[in-house]
Each structure stands twice: as C-alpha cells, then as structure tokens.
C-alpha cells in the first residue's frame, strides 16, 4: 500500500486526462466527474498515507528502472517523505477544491471537457514534480507543468491577450528552465548523480565536492525557481497570466505552479547551502553565497510586488501581485536557510490565496465579468458568504492570529529577526503593505455602496461553488494548528500541545509577533483612513480635494494621503514603472526586439545570389587555411 498509493495518486489524474481526451469528450458531465474524481481520490489517498502507521515517519522510494546506458542510470520513481507528502496534500486538497469550483464556474464553456482534461494533465504534472526523486524526472514534469499551464492560461485563445499571456508565461519560464537545466548538468557532471538522496549523501561525505562551481550551480538551479515562482526579474509573466479562467488563476497562483519553485528549492536545499565557492573568473564575488542572493531577490520581489499591488484596479491583478509578494517571502525564507517556514507559508498561502481567487471568481461571475474594483462596492450584503470567506482569507494573508497565515509569516519574520535586522525591517514594511493593499481591496469591493448599473443583481454562486470556498475557509482557519515546521523537521507529531503551539510566537519571539501585529494594524488603519467609503482611489488625486471635503476629521487621513500615501504613491508608481518599462519593456521587449533585429539583419546575408554564397564559402575556407598555416 505504501508503494501503491503514491502511484495511484500520481497516475489517476493522468488516466482521467487520457480518458477525457480520448473517449468522454462529448459527455461534459462525465468528463468533469472523471477529472474531479481523480483528484479527490488522490486527496483521500494522501490522507490515508498520512494515517498509515509509519508512512510519514521515514522517507522511502519506489522506483522502476527507466534509463540505463553506460554510466548513466536514471530511475523513474517516487520519493515519499514528509516534504513530498505535505506538498501532495496541499496540491490535492486545494486543487480538488478548485476542480469542484470549476465545475460551476466553467459551466457555460464550449470546450468544457477539454478544460478538465487540461486541468487533470496539469495536476498530473504537478504531482510528478512533487514526487520526483531525481533531477531528471523533476525536470521532465517541471516542463510538463509549463506546457499544461500554457494550455490553461491560453485556454481562451480566441482572445489575443490570453494567447499572448500563455505564450509569455511559457517563454519566460523557458528562460528560467534553461538555467535550471544547466545547473542540473553541472551538478550531475560534478557529483555523478542526479538522484536527490544520493546527491545529499555525496555532498555530506565531501562538502567540497562541487568545488569551484558550488555557488554557480546553486544559483543556476535557483533560476528554475526564478521562473516558476515568478521572482524578480522573471516575474513578468504572472500578472499577465490572469487572462486565464479564474479557477486556473487560483490553481496556478495559489497551490501549484508558482509553489513548485519554492518546493524545488526546499527539496534541493542541501545544494543551495553548500559551501560557497566561486570559479576563478568570478572570484570578486567570493564571500557572497547563493542563499544571500536568493534572500535579496526574495525580499526585493516581496517589496516591489507589494508596492505595485497598491495601485492595481483589477481585482485579479491585485491578487496576482499579492501572490508575487508572498512568494517573495517564501523565497526569502529559503534564503534565510529556513526551508521549513517557507514550506509552512507555502501551505497556508495555498489555502487562503486559492480562497481569495475563488471569491474573486464568484464576484466576477456575479458581476458579469466585471474585474474593476471601483465598479464593485457594497457586495457585503449581496454576497455575504463570499464576503466572509474573503475576509477570512484576507485576515490570514495579513497574518492575523489565530489564522494559519499568522503562524507561517511570524515564523519567517522571526527567523529574519534573528539573522538580519535589516531584512527584518524591510520585511516588516512589506507586512504593512500587505495589510494596506488587502484591506483596500476588501473595503472597496465589499464596503461602501454599490457602484454599478441598477439592473445588475449580484448573488452568491450555487452550492457547488460555495462548498469549495467553505472548505478552504475551514482549512485556513485550522491551518494554524498544524505543526508543519515540526513535521518537516522530522519531530514526532503531537508532542507539543495545541495550546503551546498556538501561543508559540508569543513565547519564542514576542517582539516579532507584536511588531507583526503592529504592521497589520498600521496597514489596516491606513487602508481604513484612505478607502473607507471611497468612490475612487484617493491616492492619485490631489490631497486638497480630499481636504476640502472632510478637513477637520480627516486631518490624519490627509496627512496620510499627503505624506505617507503620497510617498507610497510615488513609490508604487516607480515600482510599477520599473516593472512595466524597464523589465517588461527593456528587458523583454528590448531583448526580444534586438534579437529579432539581429535576425533580420543577419538574414540579409542570405541574398539569394549564388555568387555571394560561393564568395562567403571561399572566404570561410581561406580563413580556415590561414588559421592552420599562420
């Protein structure tokens, strides 16, 4: 059973995808049921694996020989340990909820069966990444995740924006993946194995085995995460990927694809933490280790995305930037040398961010595909259930106790505090931003009065869609009680009492906890002051207009608006500008443009005239001879 279950978990979605695309395509309902059944079964099997005595206690592998040629021996196998089980649980639980939600959301879609086939394929690929015991297999599934996400993001390919977004996501990911591939090749050629367990053993025996390439290899592997987990500067695909159907956004941005990068970093953490060493050519970087760079990138992404999120008006884009920012925290945690808290935050984030997206999807559906938050408003009464679940998720994201997000984020902040006060300070600023943009969202969307045509009567989605939201809300509330870090560290479950665990942050790092709460409070207060009842964003407007309305009472607000808000606004503009023009424009369009231009120029050599070709050939030969004789 210990070996059978993981295989089933992995292969059921594949079977569903195959069955749907081959046979049941005309039967919409059956297709959806197959796909949902596969992932729900996977969820229960994962739970059973947890429950099996000793199953989670130690890592084990099941494998079949796949490739054996010469010195090359690669197996196709599954690695079942605490890390992969946890991740599989996250994927199947959150993914399952999203599958069920999709059944409602995509009801009117013409290619309903195709959608579910793609969804199942994606789940299969993701689970393949989770259970991969070696680099090659992980890379295979890694790419399959890329391909299937391409299909999903570009699902509405009739819309050019969707097709472009799909392509962009795919291409940007390829850039990261090639670094990843090069990293794998480096590690393989140095250590002679691609198997995680074997690599860890060899590196433990001889910490200097990677030699001068240690840091470079680590950073190259990090490149893969850079693409998948959308870290600066490869983050640009993620906001655009919002063109896909909303459940897809939930799946990709919450539980799975973006988490794959962090998961991979946690999986190969031993490589990243190897003794820092640079090749001779890069000797001036000596002393800088891979984790440090990872930390800086994570932190920078967290702050930048938080700032940009402040000024987004599209509900899904706010959530997208928020995801970027939270992923930045996770990557930063890895960079702090703490894969445990990173995985903890990944797990809690998967739950509440999926919940936020599902809520956003319900709103978008209720408002007939309206995504501008300034045309929403007052939805609290019309959609109470959506409101409450959304609020719970927001609180979790803003790290309000005792929700799951509180514990995971506090853990990251506490480690930052212990290691680097500057990192902590900046991360703290990020927490303020998080609270600010999230409460802005909640206040504008649910608060105030309705700002839409009178005939639109928003209502809650049907039961099929609300159950997954309630399920995820429950998970979000309960996640705080899970001792994920202890579990990952290999400690026996249930040693610490629930109460002591819940009070953990207070006991271990009271200052950090209080500071975190203060950050949330500060962000909330600013949002309350700026956006309560706001009809349009006050930040871009001049403060005098605000002051003329409510000069006496909003002195504080005005002060915020003028000083803090104003500087925030400038920062947000700057960050957004950097994002749009420098990264998207110069880096992507510029590189792409110059590559294309080079191609266009270069092919002018292809004049079509045979004498030119002969001349070039002759010159080449002459150069060759000169080189030989000189």
């Amino acid at each position: 059973m210990q070996t059978l279950f993981p295989w089933l978990i992995l292969l059921l979605p594949l079977a569903a995808a195959a069955l749907i695309s081959l046979f049941t395509r005309p039967h919409r309902d059956l297709s959806a049921r197959l796909s949902i059944g596969a992932i729900v079964a996977g969820f229960w099997l994962t739970l059973l694996l947890f429950a099996l005595p000793g199953a989670a206690a130690q890592a084990y592998e099941t494998r079949i020989p796949w490739l054996a040629a010469g010195g090359l021996q690669i197996d196709f196998g599954l690695r079942i340990d605490r890390l992969s089980l946890l991740m599989a649980l996250v994927v199947t639980a959150v993914g399952g909820a999203i599958h069920i939600y999709s059944y409602e959301y995509m009801r009117g879609e013409r290619r309903f069966s195709t959608y579910f086939a793609c969804l199942s394929l994606f789940t299969f690929a993701m689970l393949g990444v989770v259970f991969a015991p070696n680099f090659v297999q992980m890379f295979f599934f890694w790419e399959l995740v890329g391909v299937s996400s391409y299909l999903l993001i570009g699902f509405w390919f009739e819309r050019p924006a969707a097709a472009d977004a799909g392509l962009k996501a795919f291409l940007v990911n390829r850039v990261g993946d090639l670094g990843f591939l090069l990293g794998i090749l480096l590690v393989w050629s140095r250590l002679g194995s691609v198997h995680f367990g074997e690599l860890e053993r060899r590196l433990a025996e001889n910490p200097a085995a990677l030699g001068a390439m240690a840091t470079v290899a680590g950073l190259l592997i990090f490149c893969g995460a850079l693409g998948k987990s959308a870290q600066f500067p490869l983050h640009i695909w993620l906001p655009d990927a919002m063109e896909g159907p909303t459940p897809v956004s939930a799946l990709i941005h919450a539980a799975t694809m973006v988490a794959a990068g962090v998961y991979m970093l946690a999986r190969v953490f031993f490589l990243l933490a190897a003794t820092p060493h640079w090749p001779a050519a890069l000797h001036f970087l000596e002393g800088l280790d891979a984790l440090e760079i990872i930390r800086i990138i994570g932190l920078f992404t967290a702050l930048m995305a938080g700032l940009i999120a402040l000024q987004q008006d599209d509900i899904k884009r706010v959530l997208a930037y928020s995801t970027l920012s939270q992923l930045g925290y996770m990557v930063m945690a890895i960079g702090l040398g703490q894969p445990g808290p990173a995985m903890f935050h990944l797990a809690t984030h998967a739950g509440f961010k999926a919940l936020l997206f599902l809520g956003a999807g319900a709103i978008i559906l209720a408002l007939h595909h309206e995504q501008d938050i300034w045309r929403m408003g007052g939805l609290r009464r019309a959609m109470p259930l959506t409101f409450w679940t959304f609020l719970i998720a927001t609180l979790a994201l803003c790290a309000v106790p005792p929700l799951g997000g509180f514990y995971s984020k506090e853990s990251i902040l506490a480690h930052a505090w212990h290691q680097d006060k500057l990192v902590f300070a900046l991360a703290w600023c990020g927490s303020v931003l998080t609270a600010l943009y999230m409460f802005r969202l909640v206040l504008v969307v649910f608060g105030g009065s309705p700002r839409r045509p009178r005939d639109a009567q928003p209502h809650e989605p049907s039961h099929i869609a609300t159950w997954p939201m309630l399920f995820l809300a429950g998970l979000t509330v309960l996640a705080g009680g899970a001792d994920v870090e202890g579990f990952l560290a290999g400690g026996a479950q249930g040693t610490a009492s629930l109460a002591s665990r819940l009070a953990g942050p207070l006991a271990h790092a009271p200052f950090v906890m209080l500071a975190g709460l203060a950050a949330t409070g500060l962000g909330f207060a600013m949002a309350w002051g700026l956006y309560r009842g706001a009809y349009r964003d006050p930040l871009p407007a001049r403060w005098s207009t605000l002051a003329s309305a409510l000069r006496q009472r909003l002195l504080l607000d005005a002060w915020y608006a003028r000083w803090i808000g104003g500087s925030f606004e400038a920062l947000a503009c700057l960050a957004s500008g950097v994002d749009r023009w420098i990264i998207a424009g110069a880096a992507v369009r510029g590189v792409h443009g110059s590559v294309e231009l080079t191609g266009r120029l270069l092919r002018l050599a292809q004049t079509g005239k045979v004498s030119t070709y002969a001349f070039a050939l002759g010159c080449g030969v002459a150069a060759l001879l000169y080189w030989l004789i000189r």
């Binding site: 090359l72 050629s189 390439m213 191609g599 092919r603 292809q606 045979v610 080449g620 060759l624 001879l625």
Partner: protein, 481 residues
C-alpha cells in the same frame, strides 16, 4: 573478399534499378503501386539489416569498406529515413503528371549513397558515395521542373554542391600528396599522420566539403534557399539523410582518421558550432515560410550536433547519433506535414497553417509535436539529445573556459529557438484562419509514415534507453586512437 557485407547497399541499388525497369511495363494508373513496392522493399531491407550483428568491425574491398556498429547504426537510420521519404514522395508525386517511379528510384539511389558513406574507410569511397548522393540530389531538388522555385533551388544546390565537391576532392588530393595513401588509416597506426602541413590544409578543405553536407557555417547558405524551393520529400531527405551522412563521414574523418588534427582544430570547430547555432536561430526568427524556417533551423541543429564533435569523445559521438535519430523523426514529420497541408503551388507560409487543427487534427498534432521536439522540450526526444550534447560541453567547461562560453551560446540559441518553434504551434492552434478551407484527407501510407515518426519522437523521448544504448554501442565502435 567480404562482399557479402555490402548486401544492404547492393539491395537498395538493385531495388532502384528494378523500379526503373518495372516502370517501363507499368500502366500510368498503376504507378502508385511501384512506390508501395519500393517502400515495402526498403522496409524489408531495413528488417534484414538487423541480421547483421554489431560485432567487431569487418572489412571488405581491401579495407576500403568497413562494417562496424556505427556504420550499421547509420544504415538503419538512413533506411528508416528512406522509407518515410518514399512515403512522402508517393503522396507528393500525385502533383506531377508523371515521374513517380523516377522520383522514388532517385530517392533510393540517394539512400544507397548515404549508406555507402556510412561505411567509407577510404577517401575514394568517401568521395564517390558523397557524389552519388549529391548528384542524385541535384535532380531530386529540381525535380519539379516546371516550378521556378524548384529549379532555382536546383541550380543553387548544384553550383554550391559542386563547389563543395571541388573543395572535397582537392582536399583529398592534398591529403594524398601528404600521406601517400587514400585509406583513412596510415601505414603505421590507426590514424593518419597529420604532421605535414599539406595534410592539415587538405583536411581543412575536406572539412569544408563535408560541412556543406551538414550545413554548418560558413557552408550553410544553401540550406534555407534549397529547403524552401525543393519538393518537400526531397527537403526531408536532405535534412534527415544527407545531414546524417555528412555527420557519419565527419565522425570517421575527425575522430578516427585524424584525431590529432581535430584536436588542433578544436577552437575553430567550437567557433563554427557556436556560429552555426547563432546564425540558424537568429535568422529563423523572422521567417514566415515553414520550409525556409526548417532550413535555418537545420543550420542551428548542425551546430548543436557539432557540440558532440568538439568534445572529441565517444560520449559526444553517441550523443550525436542519438540526436540525429531524434532530429530525423521530427524533421521528417514536419516536412511530411508540409507536403500534405499545402495545396500544390501554394507557398508554405506559416500563417496559412491557421485552422489546421480543424482541417486535420492529426497533421496539426504531428506538426506541433515535431516543433516541440525540435525545440527540445521534455519529454520528447529532442530534449534528451540536447541534454546529452550539452552535458559533454558542460563537463568540458570545467577544464576550459571557452567551453563555458560555448555552452552559454548553445543555451542562448535554444532560448531563441523557442520563439519561432512556438510561433508555428501558435499558428496552428491559436490563430483564426483567413478563410474556411476543406479538411485534408491523409492517405493511409502517409498517415502510417507520419505515425512512425511520431512514435519515434514520443517513444524515444519517454523511453530513451534502447536508442541511447544503441547509440552508445555504435559510438563504441569508433576506433579513436
């Protein structure tokens, strides 16, 4: 005399001649049966080639002809390529008023030339096999004698091909003048004595001549023009077969006959590899013509495969063999689709592929798979080949920084290539056709040939072991001194 070893080549030649003779008695409406017979015959020979075991190298005709693991690998590859190319030709030749039998017979003769080349252990055999291939290709490229692009491509291929042949034969003459022997092995040891400057210069000229066949910089200019103008089956055979023959000879010459010289030339070869990768990929970006795009991409693929030569090891050679097989499957599938999806006389523009998935889901899927494989995305075969080639270079990068640069260039090329390969996939699935066009009927033969390519692409990608093992065994037969 071990003339029995040459059975496969002899059989292919006999098949071609038999086809020409039978053509005289075949009524016009039964010409298609001749093509079927040719395919069947070639498939039989392919099956028969497995009767030869890849044991110790065996020689025939005074050591001029060698049958070892590598030769056998290449022969099987070329026979397979020939079967698919014949199927494509059979489908394509419905466009000509006549000439099915001639077309098929010439393809068979070209295949026999490639097979001789795989066994060449002597400059004379190298030269005549290359020439048999080349002269046949002059005709195959210009076979559509009433279509200007085909004729233009034929003229270009002929002039540049003859120029390359002139370099080749002049190089052979100089090598002969320097060593006094036409065999690949010198009097004293397995390799040629390459001390004299005459030999080294001669080998450089030979390199230029063979470089023409594989389409490497600076002998690459013909490829896009000829691929675009030539009939699709010819272009398929050029891309899959002629390139393979070129690499077979290059491996023999560089690794077996003149390893010292190859070591000396390593920096130049690295430069050539990098330049080919960049040139092919960059020029391919603005392409709108599918066949021309494949022409540019074939230059880039030649560059990737040269990565396996510059490491000067058996492992690199094995990677080349693996890559060639995968490349052959993908590029044959692409040209087959190009032969089927466009109307006669219609230029093979990529935007015209819009809506292909509605006209024929099979062709659309086949072309998409082939592009993805060429781009090197797992789990298709193209990925694993690139993986192996790059691994050799990365390994060598520990010793020499220039290999690091080469790996970087190769990666940059791969990234660039995603853009245009996915442009094709996008045109198939993601763009609206200008006008509704009728569905495409795929004949049974063409469908089966396409299916064989697809099975190759997927199976060798998901289960690379058997092919990789075969490639390793074949490369193991190389007598690297």
């Amino acid at each position: 005399m071990n003339a029995i070893l040459t059975m496969p080549e002899m059989a292919v030649t006999a098949l071609a001649l038999g086809l020409l003779v039978l053509d005289l008695w075949t009524p016009a409406d039964r010409k298609g049966d001749l093509g079927i017979a040719a395919i069947g015959g070639l498939a039989l020979i392919l099956a028969g080639s497995f009767l030869f075991g890849a044991g110790a190298p065996q020689y025939a005709f005074g050591g001029m002809y060698v049958l070892d693991g590598m030769a056998l690998f290449f022969k099987r590859l070329m026979l397979g390529v020939g079967v698919v190319a014949l199927a494509a030709a059979l489908e394509y030749s419905k466009r000509f008023a006549a000439g099915t039998a001639e077309y098929c017979a010439l393809i068979l003769l070209a295949v026999s030339g490639m097979m001789w080349a795989a066994s060449a252990n002597h400059w004379a055999l190298l030269f005549v096999s290359v020439e048999l291939m080349t002269v046949t290709f002059y005709v195959l490229v210009s076979f559509e004698r009433t279509r200007m692009p085909s004729l233009e491509a034929g003229v270009k291929y002929l002039i540049l091909g003859a120029l390359a042949s002139a370099f080749l034969v002049y190089g052979v003459a100089l090598v002969f003048g320097g060593t006094g022997t036409l065999g690949f092995a010198g009097d004293s040891g397995p390799g040629l004595g390459t001390g004299s400057v005459l030999v080294r210069v001669g080998l450089a000229l030979v390199l230029a001549g063979l470089g023409f066949k594989i389409g490497m910089v600076p002998c690459q200019f013909w490829a896009p023009d000829v691929y675009q103008g030539a009939p699709a089956p010819t272009a398929a055979l050029l891309a899959a077969g002629s390139k393979a023959a070129g690499f077979a000879l290059l491996l023999r010459v560089l690794l077996e006959a003149a390893p010292d010289w190859a070591l000396e030339m390593r920096p130049v070869l690295m430069l050539i590899a990098g330049a080919s990768i960049l040139y092919g990929n960059l020029c391919a970006i603005p392409q709108r013509n599918l066949k021309r795009l494949l022409g540019y991409s074939s230059i880039a693929h030649a560059g990737y495969m040269l990565l396996g030569i510059v490491v000067l090891e058996r492992a690199g050679a094995a990677a080349i063999l693996f890559y060639l097989a995968g490349y052959a499957c993908a590029v044959l599938a692409a040209f087959l689709v190009a032969a089927l999806a466009f109307d006669p006389g219609e230029p093979e523009e990529i935007p015209a592929l819009a809506g292909l998935h509605r006209r024929s889901p099979y062709l659309a899927a086949a072309l998409a798979l082939s592009m993805i494989s060429l781009a090197g995305i797992p789990p298709l075969v193209g990925f694993f080949g690139k993986f192996l080639l790059l691994k050799g270079v990365v390994l060598a990068a520990f010793d020499s920084r220039s290999f690091g640069w080469l790996a970087g260039v190769a990666l940059a090329g791969i990234v660039t290539s995603f853009y245009y390969y996915f442009g094709v996939v996008r045109a198939i699935y993601w763009s609206a056709p200008a006008a509704e066009r009728p569905p495409i009927a795929v004949s049974r033969v063409a469908g089966a040939a396409l299916g064989a390519c697809l099975v190759g692409i997927v199976a060798a990608g998901v289960f690379p072991s058997p092919l990789l093992e075969a490639a390793r065994l074949a490369a193991g037969a190389l007598r690297i001194p």
